[in-house]
């Protein structure tokens, strides 16, 4: 079938891609300030992955215990293994408090203290209880509230529109081309400012806590436009993903006292973190689990260990951890009050992404040259707030806060500029991709390619990394990229063509996965979530630097000259010990 010319052409001051906390936060600020804004999202806004966040949103309100911005800042820096930019973190901890009040005034139903203030709880890596929460559905209520406010302020939504290409020329963003999922057909959006807020990209891995929609499309599109990505090798693995599914079991389980055990029934954390045991940081536990599994002490020799909460008693489990119980019961038919729950590490959060400065403007090189009119925020962006490892509850906060800041900046920007000239052939690139899937006679199936990619990513750049494995992986991805060119799809229609969307997404995954591997290969140290068995030590002399990676005809080009902003007098790099 031949896809007809773009049915629609839209001219809108600001286009936001992504309706998670970052995208909606920005859109709301722009709309409130009287700016014109459209949000494009491939799933209904309330279906964005921000809604999955359970634990909370970090802010040093000090509602239940002593806390301060400095403490929050230090925890975040330490958590980042000193790769976080400290100017960004400084702004973040100050704005974080405002963001929480901003949310509350918009109607977010936070859990309350006895005296009616926002309740807060402790979370891994934070030295004070600073996670503001709403039962175990924090991200969900934040997301819904933002969406509702956007409706109130007449933000224009293009629901179920998948962005297929970015229109960037001469370092000026001019708009995007998106596919109307429901009816089919390409739409052109001509804009002054463009915000990329497409969220995480854990779907590159086999076992992940991320949603199907988290395929990092905008990252791939950035690469395609000759722009770099930053710190892509830093991928956080969460220790308690449900076996085979990767679905997240809340950290609360360990917080309440659940044990981790191996095939022999040993509480193996004794060997790895004798003091903190199951409450050690995520990366430490994930590595411990993986070691057990690799050394054959996974349950029945398989790739999982046990999360045992039986000793907590039925009552406590049902009262404090109902969701953990329910997930295990629904998905694995395991009754957590009677049997231990199979778990394994799951790719959870991506620290790297589209490089952006403190104003969320996308930059194109180590010197920080800005791409005019292009912004990035949320998990898709790398500001770099989380450095080499992010702390729980900081990411929801990061997405919302920098989304909000981004909105304010964009509002100013669109008032001062005119529309850039449209590119000559806006539809061409998107159309070419579609045509290739539609008309290819090849036998390759995108699903099989994706499965191979995910399998190998988890196997070779997972919790542990080493040169031999990654060299192997590099070759595998090269092959897959070749095979991907031959992919054809079954569905040639236009209405809700999921086949086309998935094929496109597999292309995205392949594109940036290559960058993850190259970055991890080049970074010969272990820092935060990036752990090399062949270089197990952090090396500040050589590697206290951000990674920038471009995709060129000759492969991935890396640049390690972008410095980390560090306030040497206040927060000099120390060893990260818990």
């Amino acid at each position: 079938m031949k896809i007809e010319e773009a049915k629609k052409f839209h001219k809108i001051d600001t286009v936001v891609i992504g309706a998670g906390l970052a995208g909606l936060g920005a859109a709301l600020e722009i709309a409130k300030g009287g700016g014109e804004v459209a949000v494009l999202t491939k799933v209904y806004p309330t279906r964005s992955h921000s809604g999955s966040a359970q634990g909370g949103i970090a802010a040093s309100l000090a509602n239940v215990a002593e806390d301060s911005e400095e403490m929050h800042m230090f925890d975040t820096i330490k958590g980042s293994d000193y790769l976080g930019d400290q100017d960004v973190i400084e702004l973040f901890v100050a704005e974080a408090k405002k963001t929480v009040y901003w949310f509350e005034h918009m109607g977010v139903p936070f859990s309350r203290t006895e005296d009616g203030r926002i309740n807060q709880r402790a979370f891994g890596g934070h030295s004070s209880p600073r996670a503001c929460f709403s039962a175990d559905i924090t991200g969900h209520v934040l997301l819904h509230t933002l969406y509702e406010q956007c409706l109130k302020h007449n933000v224009h939504f293009f629901n179920e529109f998948q962005v297929f290409s970015l229109l960037i020329e001469d370092d000026i963003s001019r708009g995007v081309v998106a596919w109307d999922i429901r009816n089919g057909g390409l739409h052109i959006f001509h804009s002054k400012a463009l915000l990329l807020a497409t969220g995480g990209y854990g779907r590159a891995f086999k076992i992940t806590s991320n949603a199907f929609a988290n395929t990092g499309d905008s990252l791939s599109l950035i690469l395609e436009n000759g722009l770099p990505l930053e710190d892509m090798e830093f991928v956080q693995f969460h220790p308690t993903g449900l076996y085979k599914h990767g679905i997240l079991l809340s950290e609360a389980a360990r917080g309440e006292g659940a044990y981790l055990t191996n095939d022999k029934g040993e509480r193996f954390m004794e060997k790895y973190a004798p003091q903190k045991m199951e409450l050690a940081p995520r990366d430490v536990i994930s590595r411990a689990e993986q070691t057990e599994i690799n050394e054959g002490r996974g349950i029945a020799g398989k790739a999982y260990v046990h999360l045992d909460m039986r000793h907590l008693g039925k009552e406590k489990i049902m009262e404090r951890l109902p969701q953990v119980w329910e997930l295990a019961f629904n998905y694995l038919e395991v009754d957590g009050t009677k049997a231990p729950i199979p778990i394994q590490p799951a790719a959870h959060y991506s620290m790297g992404g589209i490089p952006a400065n403190i104003k969320t403007e996308v930059i194109k090189d180590a010197a920080g040259t800005v791409v005019t009119g292009l912004y990035a925020a949320g998990e898709a962006a790398c500001l770099s707030l989380h450095g080499a490892n992010r702390l729980g509850t900081n990411s929801v906060q990061g997405a919302a806060t920098f989304g909000r800041i981004s909105g304010t900046n964009i509002l100013e920007f669109i008032k001062t500029v005119n529309y850039p000239k449209m590119v000559a052939n806006p539809l061409e690139r998107a159309q070419r991709k579609i045509d290739s899937f539609m008309t290819n006679k090849g036998k390759e199936k995108h699903a099989l390619i994706r499965e191979e990619l995910q399998e190998n990513m988890t196997g070779h750049v997972g919790v542990f990394r080493n040169e031999t494995d990654m060299l192997k992986l590099k070759k595998i991805i090269k092959d897959l990229l070749e095979r991907f060119k031959e992919v054809s799809i079954d569905d040639k229609g236009s209405a809700f063509n999921l086949d086309l969307l998935e094929a496109f997404e597999v292309g995205s995954l392949l594109n940036f996965s290559e960058v993850i591997v190259e970055g991890a290969l080049a970074r010969k140290e272990s820092r935060g979530a990036h752990y090399r068995t062949d270089f197990p030590k952090r090396d500040d002399k050589k590697w206290l630097k951000h990674t920038l990676a471009w995709k060129t005809d000759k492969g991935v080009k890396l640049d390690f000259s972008r410095n980390v902003t560090i306030y040497m007098d206040r927060y000099p790099p120390l060893e990260r010990k818990y």
Partner: protein, 237 residues
């Protein structure tokens, strides 16, 4: 956990570009016995028939994309293991009551539009404090459960009053109204009750309970609708 079994699945297919009306298409899938309905659908999409369309995203019962009708009742495909249907064949259909876009994908525009009708956002007359509004744990408890709603549409789609009257706001939108009317911070309860107190509003609910049976979040919808009814009565006499 790892050996596979054969499952017989019938799926209601509809392609607007080809079919005059929906038809049942049988599939046979080889899959692990602990697979969910969503796993089965994915397996079909990825291995057998790429033209099958459905919505999904989080696959952990929080985004609300994957509501559909399986063996006669609305469920979330991602959280429902097939063994819940005890080895019977599976019949998978789109949500009833809505119009079909393609296969299992239904048009939810009216659903969201109804949501918007109840003005689903906090409306304030009072000045905004420097810090948070004070709300007691008891006041929070009033709305805690309804805030879990993931807007999956399973409830509204299962309600016989909706089937026979497309204008009826339906349980999800009414629950949204409840969420704000009973929020101690909100100042526009009266206005919202006026919207809900309508022949096509709360009074179309005949306490049939299909909504409560369908809700994947186990929200006691009917109880909240009853409170809304009593509130509407109090307000109009």
């Amino acid at each position: 956990m790892d050996e596979q079994t054969n499952v017989k699945v019938k799926i209601l297919r509809y392609n607007p570009e080809k079919d005059k009306k929906p038809f049942w298409q049988p599939y046979e899938v080889k899959i692990e016995p602990d697979a969910t309905i969503l796993d089965i659908l994915n397996e079909i999409r990825w291995k057998l028939d790429g033209t099958l369309a459905f919505r999904r995203s989080c696959r952990s019962a929080i985004c609300g994309s994957c509501a559909m009708k399986v063996n006669g009742r609305n469920i979330l495909a991602c959280e429902t293991p097939m063994h819940r249907f005890k080895g019977r064949g599976l019949k998978i259909e789109p949500l009833p009551g809505f119009r079909i876009i393609k296969d299992l994908v239904v048009d939810l525009d009216s659903f969201f539009e109804k949501m918007n009708r109840v003005r689903p956002y906090l409306l304030l007359d009072k000045p905004i404090p420097d810090k948070e509004f004070i709300q007691s744990p008891e006041e929070f408890e009033e709305i805690r459960e309804v805030c879990i709603c993931i807007l999956c549409g399973a409830c509204t789609s299962s309600c016989p009053s909706v089937w026979s009257n497309e204008e009826y706001l339906g349980p999800a939108a009414l629950l949204k109204a409840y969420r704000f009317i009973f929020d101690s911070r909100d100042d526009a309860a009266d206005e919202r009750i006026d919207i809900v107190n309508d022949k096509n509003g709360i009074w179309r609910c005949h306490t049939i309970f299909n909504c409560m049976e369908a809700c994947p979040k186990h929200i006691k919808i009917t109880e909240y609708l009853s409170r809304l009814k009593v509130k509407a009565v109090e307000n109009s006499i």
